[in-house]
Amino acid sequence: MAFFARFTDALARLRRAPVQLTSTLLWNSYFLAPWLKNVPCPGFNCYSCPLAITACPIGTLQHFIIIRRVPLYLLGVLGLIGTLFGRTACGWTCPFGFLQDLLYKVPLPKWRVSNRWAPARYVIFALLVVIIPFIALEPWFCKLCPAGALEAGLPMIALQADLRELTGLLFAVKMVILALFLLWMMVTSRPFCRFVCPLGTIYGPFNRLSGMRLHFEESRCQHCDLCRHVCPTGLYPPEEIDTAGCIRCMECLKACPHGALQSCATGTSCTERSHA
């Protein structure tokens, strides 16, 4: 289907930061459409944020597990997003991803962490999102989530004096986790997406099945490694493009001067991006 190739090509021509900023404002514009809280957010955005317009899919998933119901609607919506676009939401519309991209611009010495630790996110997903909430009947990922600490914990405590008296050890732990992640985000590119994010864990496997695909054309590659240097998740695009770790930010497509990385639609031939 030509739509996906054209869509990918259009994305590859766009600057990502304005799209990310617009998405972040959109998912946090409660005064515009509070009824959208019945819709899961495609990105990672805490639904307890006073401005959040949509529901956090991971918080919702845990609540379904706790009440012992199969979340058909939630999994259906996430599955649709994944089937159509794979992890594109991570690279383009996730507010927490945008925060990580911004913090990584802070001029500090950088710390490259190997993706060998990336499978940790599957363990975190299984334990904190599925198994522990199922047994303990409490949303334990939410209790430790740094996005919740930043978007809900800090503003709600600042806005509601009566909540301040209820804070204790858990709030302190949550703040420490948030502080550690904020520091980590300044020195390592997208650490939360790569090693923790349960939503990325759900979307990841769809990269190889989705309508929108990316393709590496080996005959065009000059092994300049430009794509490796721009990848925010530390992947080597010639070997790892469209793997579960790829957030489809299109930075490698933009950077490749030889057209070796191309947009594609599943089941059709790839469309080479034109390079000026």
Partner: protein
């Protein structure tokens, strides 16, 4: 198009429709309309 793509698309469309018909959006996401104390960090 890849057959798997259409199978997955149909499956997830069906799941979304079934969930909506069962009223999941109305009663489960009602939770999201309230504040989640776990998200804030209150035990």
């Amino acid at each position: 198009m890849d057959k798997r793509f259409w199978v997955l698309l149909s499956l997830f469309l069906l799941m979304t429709a079934a969930g909506l018909l069962l009223g999941e959006a109305r009663f489960v996401f009602a939770n999201a309309s309230l504040i989640c104390l776990s998200c804030i960090g209150i035990q």
